[in-house]
């Protein structure tokens, strides 16, 4: 099971909590998949609404760990302030750091990301940076204090799966001891299994479960796929060949022609 900032996590599926048909279905999905870490966020609240308090009570009831995000932040200042507010509200120094650089692709602004991560790491945060698959950016994030990396599989909510397998394999190869989480773009359990077979430590996803026809069953399917993918990685899969290799022994075959 993965370990982030010296904390063991029971399930390598990190699950987002947005876009579910109802709070009950969200809660059932988390329970069904035996999720240990959920992502959460902050939004404006009006006086007297108590909406945030109700969501907080659900989190406490589930007994899961929270990973607050800085979603929708387009500047370093916004992301840092949001992280500071999240630390107070959620009582954790974990933060899924997002500094978005483009509204169409929602891809990270890696320049702002490194700067925000530097500020937050220096302030005692345990930063989970949502980044691209870029090796140099990843190295810079590690240098300034991040101990986890979360490269995207493909654009957030797109369901495309892993778009750049080569680059993700490169990251895995260069940083064998750094916890790596594929974050964003996962659409199906097979995508998640693929990431785990490649040696990634965990997968973070939201839409693929929340918008499925049956989110509760899909959450469970993801947990099973991620577990299978991890087992396969540990079992050391065979290398791919261009040509066929007979699996049935040729020696001793009857001569019948």
């Amino acid at each position: 099971m993965p370990e982030f900032y010296n904390e063991h996590v029971q399930n390598a599926l990190l699950l987002g909590t947005a876009r579910y048909p109802s709070p009950t279905i969200l809660e059932d999905a988390i329970r069904s998949a035996e999720v240990d870490v959920i992502t959460v966020s902050l939004r404006r609240e009006s006086g007297g609404s108590n909406a945030g308090q109700h969501f907080w009570e659900m989190i406490k009831r589930l007994g899961v760990r929270v990973l607050p995000n800085t979603a929708s932040c387009y500047s370093v200042k916004e992301a840092v302030t949001t992280a500071q507010m999240a630390r107070e509200v959620f009582e954790t120094d974990w933060v899924k750091l997002e500094v978005i650089g483009n509204p169409d692709t929602l891809q990270p602004d890696v320049f702002g990301l490194v700067e925000a991560a530097r500020i937050l790491c220096a302030d005692g945060f345990r930063v989970f940076p949502y980044t691209t698959e870029d090796l140099v950016v990843a190295d810079r994030l590690l240098q300034i204090g991040c101990e986890v990396l979360m490269p995207w599989g493909s654009p957030i909510g797109s369901g495309q799966g892993i778009n750049n397998e080569f680059a993700l394999r490169t990251l895995r190869s260069h940083f064998p001891d750094v916890p790596l989480v594929v974050d964003a773009g996962i659409g199906r359990p097979s995508h998640a299994a693929q990431a785990m077979e490649m040696g990634f430590d965990a997968v973070l996803l939201n839409t693929a479960v929340a918008r499925a026809g049956d989110p509760v069953s899909m959450a469970k399917a993801f947990t099973e796929a991620i577990s299978a993918g991890r087992s396969a990685f540990l079992a050391n899969p065979i290398e791919q060949n261009d040509m066929a290799e007979p699996s049935t022994p040729v020696l001793g075959k009857a001569f019948l022609s």
Partner: protein, 66 residues
Amino acid sequence: MIDLYLNGEAISTDAENLAALLQDCGYEHDRLATALNGIFVHRESRTSARLSPGDRVEVVSPIEGG
């Protein structure tokens, strides 16, 4: 009276500081975080965070997120 912006809405208030503003505006629980003019204000600092005309106050609470 001070004219300021609370979560983007123009309001007028008698509150002189952030803590008083939250109370006056009906915030009943404390699972909240605040920012004043884009700067985070820690829970313990709300009373000393004095309000001025044109201030931008943000009050946020937990919500679902991906």
